[in-house]
């Protein structure tokens, strides 16, 4: 296990300290360049733009989109009309079951200029914009929400089922309204599930590549180039494997940072 985990990370770390290229002299004999790649990276405006896009993508699609929508759906399935639950959950899970590449093509077909969405807007007489060009980041955020919400919904469904009904009943007798019960009783009870889920969806979303690559290719320009896309472009489009690896390593550190923040802020281990 250790080899599988540490091996690739160690190799990536080493690779990021060289000027390895995909072709040319530096493909056969890469030189050790120390922290040059990182210096170049941290002084590049494109990198910071990419960090910002990644943050927007992660916060928008994972933290807000998938978590809030997942919780709402879980509540709906649990408390809503009896027949609605299974229908909603099977629809949502369908998106989750699709392989990423299939989901990506589906969503590309949906948002494309002559795609499903604009076709449907046409029925009501509206002329839709070129979604993938005018609002690329929004489309990939929506796509990732569509694809990933099922996971959060399932985690929260399981967690909600564990909340003892007598607690909420007691609160109800004490006169607490629905919203108060949710905020004061349910949320604290499922806090651990929320922490775990936030961490998992964050890390998963940080690594999303196929979805964005198929839908926008990171463009137009660099308007939807998150860190994994930037790493791929630098390594394979511009043939700078070492530099691309440095970006991948930074992405890894960003993920670790998120994980530490969650553990500290939400203290999932302490249940009091």
């Amino acid at each position: 296990m250790g080899i599988f985990l540490v091996g690739p990370i160690g190799y990536a770390l080493y690779g990021s300290l060289t000027n390895a290229a995909l072709s040319g002299y530096r493909a056969v004999a890469p030189e050790f360049v120390g922290f040059d790649n990182y210096t170049q990276l941290f002084t590049s405006s494109q990198f910071w733009e990419s960090v910002w896009l990644t943050l927007v993508f992660v916060v928008g699609s994972a933290l807000i989109g998938q978590n809030v929508l997942g919780m709402a759906l879980a509540l709906l399935v649990r408390n809503g009309p009896k027949r609605l639950g299974p229908v909603v959950s099977s629809l949502v899970v369908t998106a989750w079951v699709l392989p990423e590449i299939v989901a990506a093509f589906t969503l590309y077909a949906f948002f494309a200029t002559d795609g499903t969405l604009n076709e449907m807007l046409g029925w009501v007489g509206l002329d839709g914009p070129t979604w993938l060009i005018t609002v690329p980041l929004l489309t990939v955020v929506l796509a990732n929400v569509w694809r990933g919400t099922a996971f959060s919904m399932m985690v929260y469904s399981a967690a909600l089922a564990e909340v003892p009904p007598d607690l909420t009943e007691a609160a109800e007798i004490d006169g607490a309204g629905w919203w108060q019960r949710f905020i004061r009783i349910t949320l604290p009870m499922v806090r651990r599930a929320i922490a775990t889920n936030m961490m998992l969806t964050t890390l998963q979303t940080l690594g999303v590549f196929t979805l964005i690559w198929v839908m926008t290719g990171g463009g137009p320009g660099t308007q939807s180039s998150t860190l994994p896309i930037l790493a791929f472009q630098q390594a394979f489009k511009f043939a700078q494997v070492g530099y691309g690896t440095a970006i991948a390593t930074v992405t890894l550190l960003v993920g670790a940072l998120f994980a530490v923040v969650y553990v500290k802020v939400l203290k999932p281990e302490v249940d009091s």
């Binding site: 985990l5 690739p8 072709s23 493909a27 200029t113 060009i133 290719g217 994980a259």
Partner: protein
């Protein structure tokens, strides 16, 4: 929770690591036996001509060499991804192909990387080699002046225009633009008089890869007084007025909506769409494109009856009509022997079959290549096959070649970034040129550049 955390981190590490693991150079002993020759080449919906030539050559080679097998590995990808996949195959001896379909601008780079084997010895014993012209022989040279590939044909680039649309817009059907402004004013007229038609396509997207650099940007730049690379000083040029003017041309056609909408222009399949949809359907009036286009209209899946009555050709003019009046770029592809080929002589024997007179003739006609074998170029069958040959061959005297340095492919990537950023309106030509200059210095170093 304690257990989840490293596992989740590991998942991210692995998903990122997969990309990187692909770059590791393996050391396994190799998969194919010495009697199998693997051939790596490109095939797309619009590019099937090479596939058919190689299949024919494979059966001929197997018939002549009992016991030998040819394994054709078609890489189904647009050009940019083809290079990436090929580079990754080449990095590990266990996946490296024996025979490689290689773009002329990648030869020096891949030879320097040790992916290709020199074939001078084998060429010395091949009587047909004397039939190849000097330009073709040059195309296969590496930095060390050894030969790393046999040229399959070359190409030129020019303006294609739809005579029906031109007639409708009241423009001359024997169009001969003298300057960039002539091209732009024709495009503007079409926008006014033929609504619904895209006036002009000049490749602008990163996703189109080398097409953007060569069919697009360099066709403009080499028609200015500036250049990309100074051959005499062997230095790259920064801050040249021609570079900015070329980007301004993009700004004009995209800003005035003379070019395709960005969702088409920036798509990886834009090349196929221009050739097989937009031009044949009369949706595009002017296309700056390559001489190979008519090949697919003559025969095959994308055959287009009567194309020669609809499509006209015009040389791409220089910026202000300065001498020599027109500009073209030339490239071309080669067949090379992989450095990891088990039996290099057998691999070369296959190339000999694939590029013999008959097969060269088949390929050069069907893919509308400009023949580089003298016996093919003078063959009546070649000359009468395609009415566009005469025009595209006439561009050879004013054509340019890309700077063939091992850095070119990286620099080309930066050209595409500059073109796309101007086309999308996210940079002005000045800003994009400045970003290019900075990227260029980063790649080649301060001592390898000079002001323009």
């Amino acid at each position: 929770m304690q257990r989840t955390r490293p596992a989740a981190l590991g998942a991210v590490a692995l998903s990122l690591g997969i990309v990187l693991a692909g770059c590791g150079s393996g050391s396994s002993s190799g998969s194919g036996d010495t009697n199998t020759i693997t051939v790596a080449y490109q095939r797309t919906a619009q590019f099937t001509q090479l596939d058919s030539v190689l299949k024919k050559a494979a059966s001929e080679y197997e018939a002549a060499n009992p016991g030998k097998k040819v394994k054709l590995t078609a890489i189904e990808a647009e050009q940019d991804q083809y290079f990436t996949k090929l580079a990754l195959m080449n990095r590990s001896p266990s996946t490296a192909p024996d025979v490689i379909y290689e773009d002329s601008f990648q030869v020096r780079s891949d030879a320097a990387a040790g992916y290709l084997a020199p074939i001078d010895e084998q060429l010395a014993g091949w009587s047909d080699w004397s039939q190849f012209d000097d330009v073709a022989k040059q195309a296969g040279l590496g930095d060390d002046k050894k030969t790393y590939g046999v040229s399959m044909g070359t190409d030129t680039r020019a303006l294609f225009y739809n005579k029906d649309i031109f007639a409708k817009a009241g423009l001359p059907t024997d169009w001969k633009p003298k300057t960039w402004d002539d091209v732009l004013s024709a495009a503007r007229t079409i926008k006014q008089k033929a609504p619904g038609v895209t006036p002009i396509n000049v490749y602008a997207g990163k996703a189109a890869g080398e097409a953007t650099s060569m069919q697009g940007f360099e066709m403009l730049l080499y028609g200015t007084d500036s250049t990309l690379y100074d051959d005499s000083t062997q230095k790259w040029v920064t801050g040249s007025p021609g570079f900015k003017d070329s980007l301004s041309f993009y700004q004009t056609i995209f800003g005035e909506k003379l070019a395709p909408a960005l969702d088409v222009a920036l798509d990886a399949t834009v090349g196929s769409r221009v050739a097989t949809e937009m031009l044949p359907r009369g949706e595009l009036a002017i296309a700056l494109d390559g001489s190979w286009l008519p090949g697919q209209w003559i025969e095959g899946d994308n055959a287009w009856k009567g194309w020669e009555d609809t499509i006209g050709f015009a040389p791409m003019p220089t910026q202000n009509g300065q001498a020599p009046g027109s500009v073209s770029m030339s490239g071309g592809w080669l067949l090379s022997v992989g450095a990891n080929a088990k039996d290099k002589n057998a691999a070369f024997d296959f190339i000999k079959v694939a590029l013999n007179r008959d097969n060269s003739l088949k390929y050069d006609t069907e893919n509308s290549q400009i023949a580089v074998r003298k016996d093919v170029a003078s063959d009546e069958k070649y000359l009468s096959y395609n009415p566009s040959f005469e025009f595209f061959s006439s561009l050879v005297p004013t054509t340019h070649f890309r700077p063939a340095t091992p850095d070119y492919s990286q620099i080309s990537g930066n050209i595409q970034v500059a073109a796309e950023s101007v086309a999308t309106g996210s940079s002005t030509p000045d800003e994009a040129a400045k970003a290019y200059d900075e990227g260029l210095v980063g790649i080649v170093g301060q001592d390898k550049v000079q002001g323009g």
